[in-house]
């Protein structure tokens, strides 16, 4: 009797466990994604912290559309991996997802995002949307208009006897040497040199603004320009000690923080620093810093390239229409203005940007507008789908060069070889 009870009990346990496992491993098509049916009007939005709208803004959206939004805040670095892992299993980590400009090539090639329709006249009013196009289809809509601007500590420059903003890299170099020699700042130039994505963009803006194009039309490396930039960076770090060697192992935000802490005199940084340098909560150099055009070389007045961030709709979302509605709302001029006030994200709609400059909300906005006229893509034919692999080689080469493990020539050869292998 006892034995048969044990037997029955164990059979029941087995059946229960197996059924639980089968349910979990089952196809689950109906529950796929977030199991939110269209009529439920609920979407999940996965964005980094700086893109999170306030609860008041979300309430506004819900009242207007009847769609409930669940915000999932995820570190920027992790989003790409979450998207790729989920897409490999044909699921969506969220309905609306952050898309960085550098992921467009990969996401476009893998076909993980729903194409977004946009009339031609609207595209004209949102120039950075071109960075989110793959094979003439819009993968995501940009919400933060980031490109590179130069910032300098006016007090440091004046103390060194430089009263006018430098226009070329040679002028910047001379001014910073004076600042160092006079002991105003130990390391007057802030530049990210760690093995991170920011070092790739550092090399890009340095090459574009001081030497010219990075790639030829056939996507081979323009070696003389890149080598020139690498040699110049190496000289500033290892010969003249104008750049803190600690930057070899610091994140970009830590490096930019040196300017707002008053420890450095000059940097090329994101556009949102235009507001941040004079924000007393964030900066110790309020009234002592100014934005300027990225220096050129005399022939090149200035150069920059766009690094915008956008949001797109997962191909595997079950609430595509509601998700698209959110994307359109979030990137509308009104919400972009509100998001600038909440988070400091520079609008991608020209109309919203002009409105903020005219109202005086963006101080020094003229520089922003002028610099934006010089935005050009460093890539012939758009962002390649192998961008991550190329970027990995570039930032590791830059990092190892400034550490003395490679010469500029070796770093350049390394990059050239990788680009040739990938293209």
């Amino acid at each position: 009797m006892k034995k048969s009870r044990v037997r029955i009990l164990s059979i029941v346990c087995c059946v229960f466990l197996v059924s639980v496992m089968l349910t979990a491993c089952g196809n689950g098509k109906k529950e796929e994604g977030f199991g939110k049916k269209e009529e439920q009007k609920e979407i999940v939005v996965m964005v980094p912290p700086w893109a999170e709208p306030s609860s008041e803004l979300l309430k506004e959206f819900t009242e207007k559309t009847g769609i409930k939004v669940i915000i999932n805040i995820v570190g920027w670095d992790d989003i790409r991996n979450k998207v790729s892992i989920a897409a490999a299993g044909e699921t969506a980590p969220a309905d609306v997802i952050e898309v960085d400009w550098s992921w467009v090539g990969e996401f476009g090639a893998a076909d993980w995002f729903e194409p977004i329709e946009m009339p031609e006249e609207e595209i004209e009013g949102m120039p950075t949307v071109k960075s989110f196009m793959y094979n003439d289809q819009i993968v995501a809509l940009p919400y933060a208009n980031d490109f590179r601007l130069a910032y300098y500590n006016t007090e440091h420059f004046e103390q060194a006897g430089v009263t006018e903003a430098p226009k070329t890299w040679d002028e910047v170099y001379e001014a910073c040497k004076k600042i160092k020699d006079q002991g105003i700042s130990n390391y007057p130039i802030a530049m990210t040199l760690s093995a991170t994505e920011a070092s790739t963009t550092s090399l890009f803006w340095m090459t574009l603004s001081k030497y010219g194009d990075i790639f030829n039309d056939d996507f081979t490396l323009k070696k003389e320009n890149v080598l020139g930039a690498l040699e110049f960076v190496n000289k500033m770090v290892n010969d003249d000690k104008l750049i803190d060697p600690a930057s070899e192992n610091m994140k970009d935000v830590e490096v930019y923080g040196k300017l707002t802490a008053g420890a450095t005199s000059f940097m090329i940084g994101p556009t949102y620093y235009i507001g941040l340098i004079n924000n007393p909560d964030e900066s110790q150099i309020v009234g002592k810093a100014s934005a300027m055009l990225v220096p050129g070389n005399g022939d090149i007045k200035t150069a920059t390239f766009a690094l915008p961030e956008g949001i797109g709709v997962s191909k595997y979302s079950e609430n595509k229409e509601a998700a698209k509605e959110f994307v359109n709302w979030y990137t509308s001029p009104e919400i972009q203005i509100k998001m600038y006030k909440e988070k400091g994200n520079i609008p991608t709609r020209t109309k919203a940007l002009q409105q903020l400059i005219e109202s005086g909300d963006i101080v020094g906005g003229e520089v922003l507008i002028e610099q934006s006229e010089y935005i050009a893509s460093p890539f012939p034919g758009g962002i390649p789908q192998w961008y991550s692999e190329m970027s990995n080689t570039i930032y590791n080469s830059v990092n190892q060069m400034v550490q003395g493990a490679m010469t500029p020539e070796q770093a350049c050869e390394n990059i050239e070889k990788k680009v040739a292998e990938l293209k």
Binding site: K3, I11, C25, N81, A109, A195, P245, N249, M250, N392
Partner: protein, 291 residues
């Protein structure tokens, strides 16, 4: 009749067998099938079976051997530090004092820390600009400029070994402490009567009797050292300088979205860890001879 008697044990084992099949063997099998394919998520049109080409490509890649060497240095460093310091701590905790309980509880803290927290904490110690160690050395006037601890390949690798060892030492100490407490005191008393010195007692009695426990410690520590990831990322990011096998697998799979090559390198790591485990078991679980 015999058959009926044997049925219940199999039924009782079935749930764990099903769980193991679903959660361990099935993923291992799927990963193996991936490793035999050209499978890049950004090029789905090029997916095809390529046999062992991914393995050949990885083994011929100098970057793999660079990562392999880094992993080996970390492994050796972690095992040596963990075992030596772990034994020392276990012997210290084995001494009967009033604060023994507090010391044991305090010693467990590093083990309880999540690896990522451990890494971030040590990054603040070795931070190139405002790290605690540089501040201390500057204040003591032992250095003039901050030392770039995390820029040089071997210094960063040794720091990683130290950080991982720091997390593993408590486990090692606790396991060895329980083994030490299980050694009968009359063995030491007999040895003392025979005129053995403390050193001789340690070498001839304590160490041989600790061998089975050391087997567990070394196996677990080695697996932790091979799988180290969070601490490296926290300390020095995803750079090539401190790249290990695990990071190589992660970058190939999730950064370059090359699931074929990523799965192949994961398999190589698994085989490597398996061989290590086998060697330890063969050498450390032999009959103990302590006299």
């Amino acid at each position: 009749m015999k058959k009926r008697k044997n049925t219940p044990p199999y039924i009782m084992l079935a749930p764990s067998v099903v769980l193991m099949c679903g959660l361990v063997f099935y993923p291992i099998l799927v990963t193996f099938t991936y490793s035999l394919q050209q499978m890049k998520l950004t090029e789905p049109q090029n997916d095809k079976i390529v046999g062992f080409k991914n393995y050949q490509m990885i083994l011929a890649d100098s970057n793999f051997w660079y990562s392999f060497l880094n992993s080996i240095i970390i492994l050796v460093g972690v095992v040596i530090l963990t075992v030596v310091i772990g034994i020392a701590f276990a012997m210290l905790l084995n001494v009967n004092t009033k604060i023994k309980g507090v010391l044991t509880a305090a010693a467990i803290i590093p083990w309880a820390l999540p690896p990522i927290v451990n890494g971030v904490m040590w990054r603040w110690i070795f931070h190139p600009s405002y790290g605690f160690l540089n501040r201390l050395l500057l204040r003591c006037e032992l250095i003039e400029e901050p030392v770039q601890w995390l820029s040089n390949r071997f210094s960063v690798i040794l720091i990683v070994a130290l950080v991982v060892a720091w997390r593993n030492i408590p486990f090692c100490a606790i396991v060895l402490l329980s083994a030490l407490q299980g050694i009968p005191s009359h063995i030491y008393e007999s040895a003392a009567i025979d005129g053995s010195s403390t050193g001789q007692m340690f070498r001839k009695i304590t160490l041989p009797l600790l061998m089975p426990s050391l087997g567990i410690v070394v196996t677990s520590t080695s697996i932790n050292a091979i799988n180290v990831f969070d601490e490296i990322v926290s300390l020095s990011g995803y750079g090539d300088v401190s790249k290990t096998l695990m990071m190589d697998a992660y970058l190939r799979t999730f950064n370059f979205l090359d699931y074929g090559a990523g799965s192949a390198i994961t398999y190589i790591i698994m085989i490597f860890a398996g061989i290590l485990g086998l060697l330890y078991i063969r050498n450390l679980y032999r009959e103990v001879n302590y006299l």
